[in-house]
């Protein structure tokens, strides 16, 4: 699918991977709807003419319905959707009560919130994006009409301790790639997912220093965090290559995540 002249929607657009995708899409000549909880910043930073910043919570049905109505009105039917909105958590399963020394369950809320944003939020924009393109009926000319790129994570396969919610949400994103591709093929919509390793984003900055060092030391090559522009580069490659469909691509410098503690135990041996 050609980028030039297409209408694109990016969620999580104000920072990190989403922000890099917005920059890439604008540079390639797309009109871009940039959705985030706080979209004003996008406007201030980019100030490009074909940019439509929209405020909204991806996990909220009404918010996204309003956002997609505004996009259709202002820019036309979108042909590209890149879902980057996501949160890390954390969501541990239990804690030890300091007074009694007994294990007590953690509340359900943090777990549910991660699932709501990362998984339900991804599906929320997909359903509205697909609805827009489906109005034209089945694809007839064999050319793709739309591309969806979801952000999974290497945590979909090797989530660390305290990433239960994050790992589950990203595994959900990864697993829905194939059935969505199968279902939406009828309308000429391709569905792909990227599974990034450790990237230089706001999410990564909250990781404690020692954990961060271990995460990076483990990357075979390049031994550094990924740059958001490299994520956007791959997103562009997926959009442009029509044979890419229904699969999840790791972009991680060959890292396979392991518990930081496991490593210190190993070196102590």
């Amino acid at each position: 699918m050609k980028l030039q002249g297409s209408v694109a929607v990016v969620t999580g657009a104000a920072s990190g991977l989403g922000r890099a995708c917005v920059d890439m899409l604008l540079a390639e000549g797309c009109s871009v709807a940039a959705i985030d909880l706080a979209p004003a910043e996008v406007e201030a930073q980019s100030g490009a003419p074909r940019l439509l910043p929209l405020a909204g919570d991806v996990s909220d049905a009404g918010d996204m319905e309003r956002a997609f109505a505004a996009i259709a009105r202002e820019l036309g039917t979108p042909g590209i959707l890149i879902n980057c909105a996501g949160v890390l958590g954390p969501a541990r399963v239990f804690r030890i009560d300091k007074v009694t020394g007994r294990a007590v369950p953690r509340p359900m809320e943090p777990f549910r919130r991660v699932l709501d944003i990362n998984l339900v939020g991804t599906f929320n924009t997909i359903r509205l994006f697909a609805q827009g393109l489906a109005q034209a009926g089945p694809v007839r000319d064999g050319e793709d009409r739309g591309v969806i790129i979801n952000t999974a994570s290497v945590a979909a396969y090797e989530a660390l301790s305290a990433q239960t919610a994050y790992g589950a949400s990203k595994a959900g994103v990864a697993s829905m790639t194939l059935p969505l591709a199968r279902e939406l093929a009828y309308y000429g919509i391709r569905v792909m997912a990227l599974a990034p390793g450790t990237f230089e984003t706001g999410m990564y900055e909250v990781v404690p220093d020692h954990t961060r060092r271990t995460l990076i030391d483990d990357v075979p090559f390049p031994c550094r965090p990924g740059r958001p522009a490299e994520f956007a580069h791959m997103a562009k490659a997926l959009i442009e290559n029509q044979m890419m469909n229904g699969s999840v691509v790791r972009i991680d410098g060959a890292v396979r995540m392991r518990e930081p503690q496991a490593r210190s135990t190993e070196s102590a041996r």
Binding site: F221, A254, V255
Partner: protein, 261 residues
């Protein structure tokens, strides 16, 4: 990696996926060498590719000959920076057919070309990449080379009659991560592409019944076989993006092969 002026070797370069990859790399400014087992075909392909592409006859299953060829390329052109392994064969056959077991040699032949042939070229290219980086005094963290192997979706969903082919491609897919781990310190990235059904001489020249089975598998979208140029497009994307490593990427329009048609 910017391929401009870099030496790129493409095996199986006289036709199909290899030919298209060579064309794309040459257009991107790489100094391309194609290898193929058929001397006439490889010479003709190099001529038609233009861009100063060189062609050499090579059988990837031959240890010494391939070693000598890579040494010769190093002397005449400089160190190899990009290796794209496309040399491969598909020889379908049931394990037992009409009560008779498949000849072990038939299985071994497919594995020898697809799997051992791939590692044979890798072992010859890697030292050149490592030495060139250290000779140039480039710091750790500098990219020394990119290697792209051709697996197949048969590595994950092989059909009946594909035991040998699927085993060989599964091996190609399986060695991508350990190689990336082993060679990461030297700045070499290893990737695999797992194509679905593509229109290449390999698939088009299958026996009629096998060809029918292969091309009967229609991906969700696009509902057609892949074109070699689309494979080459992914090769260029992979070479260009430094964060891609140790991963086998399906390129199949969403196709998952059924057990049989």
């Amino acid at each position: 990696m910017n391929v401009h002026d870099r030496v790129a070797v493409v095996t199986g370069g006289a036709s199909g996926l290899g030919y298209a990859s060579a064309a794309a790399l040459a257009a991107a400014g790489a100094r391309v060498v194609i290898l193929d087992r058929d001397a006439q075909a490889v010479a003709a392909a190099a001529r038609s590719l233009g861009h100063g592409v060189l062609g050499h006859q090579a059988d990837v299953t031959q240890d010494t000959a391939v070693e000598q060829l890579f040494a010769q390329l190093h002397d005449t052109m400089g160190a190899v920076s990009v290796l794209v392994n496309c040399a491969g064969i598909a020889e379908p056959g049931n394990v037992v057919r009409q009560g008779r077991a498949m000849l072990l040699a038939a299985f071994e032949h497919v594995v020898a070309v697809n799997l051992l042939g791939t590692i044979n070229c890798i072992r010859c290219a890697v030292p050149q990449m490592i030495n060139a980086r250290s000779d140039a005094g480039l710091p750790a963290g500098t990219e020394a080379g990119v290697i792209i192997n051709t697996a197949s979706i048969a590595a994950f969903d092989g059909q009946m009659g594909q035991a040998a082919y699927a085993a060989s491609k599964g091996g190609v897919a399986g060695m991508v991560l350990p190689l990336a781990r082993e060679l990461g310190d030297y700045g070499i990235r290893i990737l695999g592409i797992a194509p679905g059904v593509f229109e290449t001489p390999m698939t088009l020249d299958l026996p009629p019944r096998s060809r029918e089975v292969v091309f009967a598998a229609i991906p969700p979208f696009p509902q057609r076989p892949g074109q070699p140029q689309e494979f080459a497009q992914l090769v260029l994307s992979m070479v260009a993006n430094p964060m891609l490593n140790g991963e086998v990427v399906r390129l199949d329009g969403g196709l998952r092969m059924p057990a049989r048609v």
